[in-house]
Symmetry: D3
Subunit: 69 residues, 6 copies
């Protein structure tokens, strides 16, 4: 499926922390650049996420904030 969320960043699964309802997944999308995601446990199980697997970080533009020092 092609989806309207503007940001699709290719990466590799680096870490998985399962919880009761949610699971925390960390992806590396460029050397040393990691993104943390929290998805439902059932989604993580259905997608058979495992360390080293190729996956995409998907984020809507309206969910991305900008920060400056």
């Amino acid at each position: 499926m092609k989806i309207s969320a503007r940001n699709h960043l290719k990466g590799t699964v680096k870490k998985i922390v399962p919880g009761v309802v949610n699971t925390e997944v960390t992806l590396e999308i460029a050397p040393g650049v990691e993104v943390v995601s929290i998805i439902t446990k059932s989604s993580a199980d259905q997608m058979r996420l495992s360390l080293g697997k190729e996956a995409y970080v998907v984020v809507k533009a309206t969910d991305v904030m900008i920060g400056i020092d």
Copy 2:
């Protein structure tokens, strides 16, 4: 301010598209890796965002989805 959002990715402003209420800002966070953000126009003006400026992509973990082919 230090903020609870889990993802802070350092980058450079590549493109700015202002609208009436919102403004679209594109940051490069690694060579060839771009992230699009939509923030309010007044925030973009207050932060004096301009092309080439250093800035951070800030995203909550619960707003990051995972996709697989």
Copy 3:
């Protein structure tokens, strides 16, 4: 792409209202059951959304609230 968002509801495009940065799209997902989405204008253009086109409503479980009378 298969995505972690839990809700994928098949429907048909009923209405499109384009803005400067965002575009409002209405889908019918069951007889008389309509869902309104606001996505970025460029996503709507890229997906070549048009009236009558088959599409999916995609929503994360954490973005769905529950209401009672």
Copy 4:
């Protein structure tokens, strides 16, 4: 209370999975059309959600994405 979220879809509670902080609730909003929500456990308890109860799926338009095959 009348609320600004654009989408109010009437349905029936089909499934409830309680967690420590969050609870997962599934509503049927049309024959065979189910929507999964994750709300805080205390909200689920306060609303006395139970199987078969009438309830609404409430979603902001900016939280609804569009997908196409």
Copy 5:
């Protein structure tokens, strides 16, 4: 309607900035404490929001971040 979003803060409409698709609304929820909301223009019109009107700020707990100096 009673809704699962955890935060309902009573206030008064202080400012309204209409856009093409979205409208920016500012509420005062305590002396000198203002909250800015962006909702769809059609919701703002339907709710007949006007300066001085009593209204609530409604926010999901998962959409509230914490910051420290």
Copy 6:
């Protein structure tokens, strides 16, 4: 860091409920006006949040809904 989220409301930590992946934090932002936030457990630990500590509620304008009676 200065961040694009429009709402920064100063307050004091009143209550903390830790979970496996997420933690629920309540802040008082004005006499009798409380806001509930759910952040990741690791963020709460990193920020060393404790009862009585000064902190900010940070919310994007697009995540704030409006309600009327």
